[in-house]
Symmetry: C5
Subunit: 304 residues, 5 copies
């Protein structure tokens, strides 16, 4: 057990040994084992965007086994996916990498101003599939966020009692937020705070921009001169907003980006005190060799 | 146990022996036993369209025993129907053919832009009636699909724990889809992917057309040049979209069609890697001799 | 056990012995015992129309004991009523006639285009009051029929497990149906089919008219030349629509009618293969002597 | 046990001994013990109208102990109140007077055309506080009355199983009723019938006026010449509408009235076969001496 | 056990020894131990207003441990916060100060006329974190207050059975109330009455102004000449409205105020018979030395 991991686990002292054990499993797996940093491969794009938009750019990715192997071969900390993907492959790769079962999902076949998502799997599913954690996406800012928070309360409580780690994807959206506002620094920090207060062990947010969207918050950022010009400063602010660094915060970049931009982001995450990355489309929408090269570079950045 | 069946069961290794056993019962029953292909007779038209529209073209079909005998005499793999139909006849034909209890249903007595359906039977009903599987219809694309997905989660989870196979009818519909869009290739493939991710063991979709309905998806199909000119190519794409062939996908044709068209579809399903057909109205809305002749030809195609 | 009753019970072979026993109790009680025909007295008008509209025409009927005695004295097969009526009298008349507890009810104090009703009693209530069956009213064609079908699924499932018979009143209504459409032959037959598929043991519908309301259905009735000119033909079609005679179908006439019309209907029900009548207002809204005379005549028709 | 009480208990023969015992406790307590008549003190005005409107006219009434003592000192049959009021005082006065816990309540801080109320306490609360009964208010005529009836079903069923008496306040209201219509004779009688059918043991209604509000009912009242010119006749009709006198019906007057009017009402209730009064604001919104004088006179009227 | 505490506990005699014990723990902790007065530090601003608006004015407050220590160092009676804050620190400070877990929370990322809040933690969470009480916020005056009252009923009932104290934040809001009306005396008193009737052990309200908002109530205040010119009189009226002093009522000031105004309020609370203060933003949005100075002065006022 390295000091870095021990220090992180100390922030979760109120949790039961089951949760601590599974959290340690994630922190101590793969090439970043023991560093206190992590990279997770999430694959739920097929539900959100449909199969062709998700997998046609790299057809082997239609196969759920592809992603399992990619995460294993790249030496990542964990692999997160939806029920069907894990059911189709969990027995085959049992014990090879920590698994996170995303419990809810949302599709775009019906457009909504305030998306809601559906809980499509349960804590029991996570247990029978050998997972170490459950995942759940919230959309703070949407009209029906109450339903999401209460559903999360129920699954998180059941998960913790069963010794599972709770990972929350916090994506502010909804009728009151502009597209630009969804990644504004104040909004992302607010989403991180909410996820932390809801009892998330690991929080996943998008990389924030320097934009400030909420008028009342903007006034405070300006009065207090909260530094937010650089990505590193913004990461630091988000981590601070997640219980002052007492909760693991991971960042994602969204759609396929320029690799250099991704590496720059990883540097900013690392330097700002972030705990790592969740990389989905950027890795599985290119061929495997290129994906491994990309992930290798990401790992190296976090190893420094 | 043939190699074809063993290979299919391998894709379901994460499931418990109860599910594997019941899946094997379907695969190993009837004239297609052991081929890895299947034809299922579904009879829920009486609920969806009313009795006269469903059965008047062939009045013996008003009797639920008629369908049971038809499926048995034609040597099909399974018979799927609604609660009342099975309650009225399950004891009489106990053990003669694998049964699928459709748990939800929808009627057209009240028109809706976004149909929802009702859960009219339970997993307990399926068990007490001797069924090997439950069936459930989802309408991806409808406003209240969340309710459907969550209801499916509950019954599917209960079914799997009881060793029952989960069959999902995935019919994209709803206010955001045109009539033509409901059978567009991208939409059908999306519906198959959703059903697979929701944990379906067997997925039933409509035969897709070459139409592409969702603008964002259309762009990808064109950029990536996904082959979809022929029915065979479209079947292949849908099967690929259902976990790359790791889940059984069945196709249906809809209303009474020209027999030659049906046979052509069966060839395309077979050649595209599909697992078989669900044939309802096309078989029970003609007299029994004609129906047996049609089903015999379908079986022969899948036996090749 | 007569052949007629044995033949009916054979249609319910999938049910447990408890249900068969209670069904036999209804079929073997009263003056129609053993005939395979039945007349049931239902009294829930006080909830639907208020007490004065229901009972002022024959004031002794304000008393729940009046109805119990009427059903007993007339030698009917069963008495159906709501919770309060049975609670007030069930102990007094315990064991004298089979009882059906109507579990849901609807009042007219608030007008609605799509009525819904409320479940006001439970299966436990039926058991503690010594009933042989539960009753439940559905309104196919209403916007919220899903809630009704799902509530029915729950109480029916619980009732069957407890050995109780399930009686479903199927009254198509709702915004999409005209007043005339509610008793159209195609609509009544559709309602009977839905009740049967929902798992009803006994189905109660209104006497259909020769009107055809649903355009898609009308086309079929005309193309297939389904006979429906006479009441006898229409009864035969409705019985056929309820699993081809495998489920008991009862008919009612509605508000106070000319006695000769009632007798004519009973002849039609009998000759069309119907199983009997449910007679409420027509019997209890006249003085007891007249009511007994009417019911005696009805019984005689069904005894022929 | 007096004959009057025994006769009343006989109407509840279907209930278990627990319910009979608690009903007897109410009937055999206070100065009206054994008469078959009862007066109950209800205090839930603070929730409905706020504290100042309820208690400022007689400030000692802000204290929940005041009401307990008032009911005891006046020799009433029972005291009914909301959770907080009973929690604050039930231990202090344990065993001194039968208690009724009102389970639901409604406030006027948000105006609604169709009030709904909230269930703010449970049957368990009633048991732990030593109550003999639960109370529940329904608003027949409101859009969401279904929710109320179903909530009442659940608590009433639980209460009866625990041997508690069920008291239902039946107040027709809602968008389809005029203010005058809420106390119309036909509407009050309808409300009493509904409460009785829902399984109430004791029904509380407002004193009806001679007004007739529902057109279909009005026609019947006029055709049948139902006597309703005097308050006594109207009480008799309401009692008849509550299972022909098989259920205890109590009447209330509403806001502070002229005492002579109250006494006249009590005479009418007694002479019309009513079982007594529920007197809230009229007693606690005057000083205690005056309240005791008023209640003494009410008791004397019912003792005659 | 001082007389002051004994007198307060006497008001809760109907509660079980578990609740009495935990209530005594709050009353007997910190510098106000034994006085019958209390000051509580609540920290849920991060959820309601976001992290920057809450903590940027005093950055150490981003850390949940900061608040724990502040409450301990200031010698307060209890510390109240949300799930994530307590999970991150409860083990570290176990046993050092009584804890209150706020079970519901509301964010401002989506504007609503009638706010609702979400239940984000459970009674089980409170127990596993070593809390002595749960907290719950209601918004009387909002359209969906029914959901809040019923959710409170469930958690309060579970909490009491587990021996936990129930603290209710009662904040009238909603479409029918003006901003000024939310703190009007009649509205605050009404909110205190509702919280008391819902079974709260401790009630938290805002300091009322002399404004009267509800026309029907205003008439009574004026007719009855209820004194409300001074803050002391208004506190006395609110305490009277909470079961005549039988329930602990605490007051808060809201956003950062002038210290002298705060002290004046504390004097008014004390002199009006209030039981103390809940001070959040006013204490943690300044540096710790200043916060301790402020809290010390508050404690001294209540010690007099």
């Amino acid at each position: 057990m390295t000091d870095q991991v021990r220090k992180i686990l100390d922030c979760y002292r109120s949790e039961n040994p089951g949760v601590l054990t599974n959290l340690a499993r994630i922190l101590n797996h793969g090439r970043l084992a023991g560093t206190g940093r992590m990279i997770i491969l999430p694959v739920d794009q097929g539900f959100e965007h449909g199969p062709a938009r998700s997998f046609a750019p790299n057809p082997p990715a239609y196969d759920p086994a592809y992603h399992f192997k990619l995460a294993i071969d790249a030496g990542l900390n964990a692999y997160a996916s939806l029920l069907g993907f894990l059911e189709a492959t969990a027995a085959e790769f049992a014990g090879e990498i920590p698994l996170i079962l995303k419990l809810n999902a949302h599709d775009l076949l019906h457009e909504e101003k305030d998306p809601l998502g559906a809980q499509i799997a349960s804590v029991s599913d996570a247990l029978r599939l050998g997972c170490v954690a459950i995942g759940y996406t919230i959309y703070p800012g949407t009209a029906e966020r109450r339903l999401q928070y209460e559903q999360l309360r129920e699954v998180a409580s059941e998960a913790k009692a069963a010794g599972l780690v709770v990972v929350v994807w916090s994506y502010p959206r909804g009728g009151g937020l502009s597209k630009e506002g969804e990644t504004a620094l104040d909004v992302i920090a607010y989403g991180a705070q909410i996820a932390a207060l809801l009892g998330a062990h690991i929080i996943k947010v998008k990389m924030p921009t320097a934009h400030l969207a909420l008028p009342d918050a903007k006034k405070v950022y300006e009065e207090m001169k909260i530094p937010h010009a650089t990505a590193t400063e913004r990461v630091r602010h988000v981590v601070q907003s997640a219980l002052n660094g007492r909760r693991i915060v991971l960042f994602s970049g969204g759609p396929k980006e320029d690799d250099e931009a991704l590496f720059a982001e990883a540097h900013a995450i690392r330097d700002g005190g972030g705990f790592g990355s969740i990389i989905g489309r950027n890795s599985f929408q290119r061929d495997k060799t290129a994906a491994l090269r990309l992930l290798d570079e990401m790992v190296r950045i976090y190893q420094e």
